[in-house]
Symmetry: C2
Subunit: 379 residues, 2 copies
């Protein structure tokens, strides 16, 4: 097995864990946030930027890469690492989530999912076996089992059928997977907001003894407190000696909260997507850099940040770039938002190491909430 996960420390007063994940392309210190590089590019950012902000592992999307440029082409170019010139670890998702959220005319059967490409409308079939084949061709350090992610509002009966199928698919993924290769397979626990279904599904998947486990199906529209409640009851059902990954989550507040519930890995398009929409995370709150109030502001975006953007440019310049639709705006904003998320995770890890995560996270969340409230009142 090419994955080694070491639990370095568990917080005495929360479920927070400080870990170290050794993967073929490098070591990942957990808890970690993984920038999303959907189509073999973390949008608007090059590998030099990612290195500079200290990214340890990034994510690629199987659905997008399967459709374009195709996994066989990527394999010929040294896998995703060689193709996009990223030497550090990569995790690929299974394509399941995107098939349900992006593709048209999807039809689920025991075999897999038939769908129409969002690019050219062509008919495609994605199966558990093909998902693993694609992900192994992409050569990711961590690959995900092909699952169904039912809509948040689905009824209990639909969830039960779906979970049983996702378990059968997980077994087929395990059979198709080459554990002697460089890709470690993670299972995905679904079950929506039903604690008993989450528990049963976690137990079924734990029997497969995979290298790691994820919680899927959050961040699809459920209320935040319900998500926290569900993660708090579901995370303990995942094997304690293996990495736990909460898929597609979330805001800085989500990360700090869910680390305290025992999560080791996160990914989300939030920092890069909001950056492209001028919404920037700072130690002082959220800056909408489009706002005219920043037009003449000589201060750096975030005085507490060391990123290339904050070290070199003023809010006035960033506001001008965005207003003038200069392409540079997207890069500078994305660098900063990712730096904010990665820096936050570095502070999270330090707090766990010092055995004070419960207190640190409580103080951080209160302070953050206060800042955002103050900011709202000023607006």
């Amino acid at each position: 097995m090419s994955l080694d996960f070491e639990l370095l420390k568990v917080d005495p007063e929360s479920a927070a864990r400080r870990g170290r994940l050794r993967l073929p392309h490098g070591v990942v210190e957990t808890p970690i946030f993984m920038p999303v590089g959907t189509a073999a590019s973390v949008k608007a950012i090059a590998p030099d930027d990612l290195e500079r902000i200290g990214a340890q592992i990034i994510l690629g999307n199987t659905y997008h890469l399967f459709l374009r440029p195709g996994h066989e082409l990527v394999r010929r170019h040294g896998g995703l690492h060689g193709f996009m010139t990223w030497p550090k670890p990569i995790l690929t998702d299974s394509g399941g989530f995107q098939v349900y959220s992006l593709a048209a005319a999807r039809k689920i059967s025991e075999e897999g999912v038939v769908f129409r490409s969002h690019l050219d409308g062509s008919r495609k079939l994605l199966t558990p076996e093909l998902s693993i084949e694609v992900q192994e061709a992409l050569g990711a350090d961590v690959i995900m089992a092909f699952d169904e992610c039912p809509p948040a509002g689905s009824d209990r009966r639909y969830f039960e059928d779906s979970l049983a199928r996702t378990t059968r698919w997980a077994k087929r993924c395990k059979d198709a997977w080459h554990p002697e290769g460089k890709s470690s397979l993670f299972g995905i626990v679904q079950g929506g907001l039903h604690p008993d279904l989450r528990r049963r599904h976690a137990e079924e998947l734990a029997e497969l003894d995979l290298p790691g486990y994820a919680l899927g199906g959050y961040s699809v529209g459920e209320p935040i407190p319900s998500m926290y409640e569900s993660v708090s009851t579901s995370a303990p059902n995942l094997p304690a000696d293996k990495p736990r990954y909460l898929m597609g989550v979330g805001t800085p507040e989500d990360l700090v909260t869910c680390v305290g519930l025992g999560i080791d890995m996160f990914d989300c398009v939030l920092p890069t997507r909001t950056a492209r929409n001028a919404r920037l995370y700072t130690s002082e709150g959220i800056v909408n850099i489009k706002n005219a109030r920043y037009a003449d502001d000589p201060a750096p975006l975030d005085p507490a940040c060391d990123c290339y953007t904050c070290k070199n440019f003023s809010r006035a310049y960033l506001r001008h770039l965005y207003a003038a639709q200069e392409l540079l705006a997207y890069r500078l904003n994305s660098i900063h938002n990712l730096a904010f998320f990665l820096d936050l995770m570095a502070r999270v890890r330090a707090a766990i190491e010092e055995g004070r995560y419960a207190a640190w996270s409580k103080a951080w969340l209160e302070e953050r909430s206060l800042r955002l409230r103050e900011q709202k009142e000023r607006a």
Copy 2:
């Protein structure tokens, strides 16, 4: 006077000159190509990229910056150097060319030009005095006199009236200018393809004894051989001891040719604009990276190039980025095209230093023409 121009060498068999231009923000080795940073940003490129590819001086556009974000705002933020965080020399144009090419409903009078902003339709008046005021507020190392650039097809009579006015405007610019400041004022010689008008205008402007002179009004649709012919007769009319700048020109072939005619400085949007349209200049010819033929090509864009793009990425990856409309495509393509132009100018300077520019440029132009012909035949 804050400009010092030293002629280091003149080619024995052509008019090519190797010079050194000392400006308040640094030394510029000529002949030089200046990347265009229209709205306080060389499109898709940050200062770190510009440093890395060896840019010595960049250009800003008075028209754009006057309209947005406004020169008073830029002045408050440390001028263009402080605002965009570019520590090396900057040249700004006068706004004249853009008023004629971009703005609507323009009306020329002795006072100046009334036009409607291409951004919001608001009515603006740009005069010689205001152009200088704006450019001094922007704080460029080199600023340009406000001129009229008549359409290429204008008749001789129109040219004569226009040139007389441009001379009167140049005098007003000189009167408005603060020569003790950090901005050196260049005059702009117009006259279309009329050698006698170009000569007379050059003589009129030379009497103003400005720190440098430009040839304007080319690259507006005239045939290339006519442009070369006109530059070859016009360049010698400019003072030999001052820098000579050919505005808005041009292709690699134009640069190599016009250096041989005695030009020291060039600017053009060509490398950055074509980069954003997937047209890339290489030592092997022109690569249209959109083309399916590159989809599986593992070679670097230009094996002879040392830029970040060529050192790190394959044609297949660049083609994928462009096809997927990834923002990174624009940055990587722009870095390369500018590196190609700047590297070419470094070779131009070396050839002049070695006293072999006439032979070098002849061989380079023949080789280039051959490459492009071969490429066309293969297509």
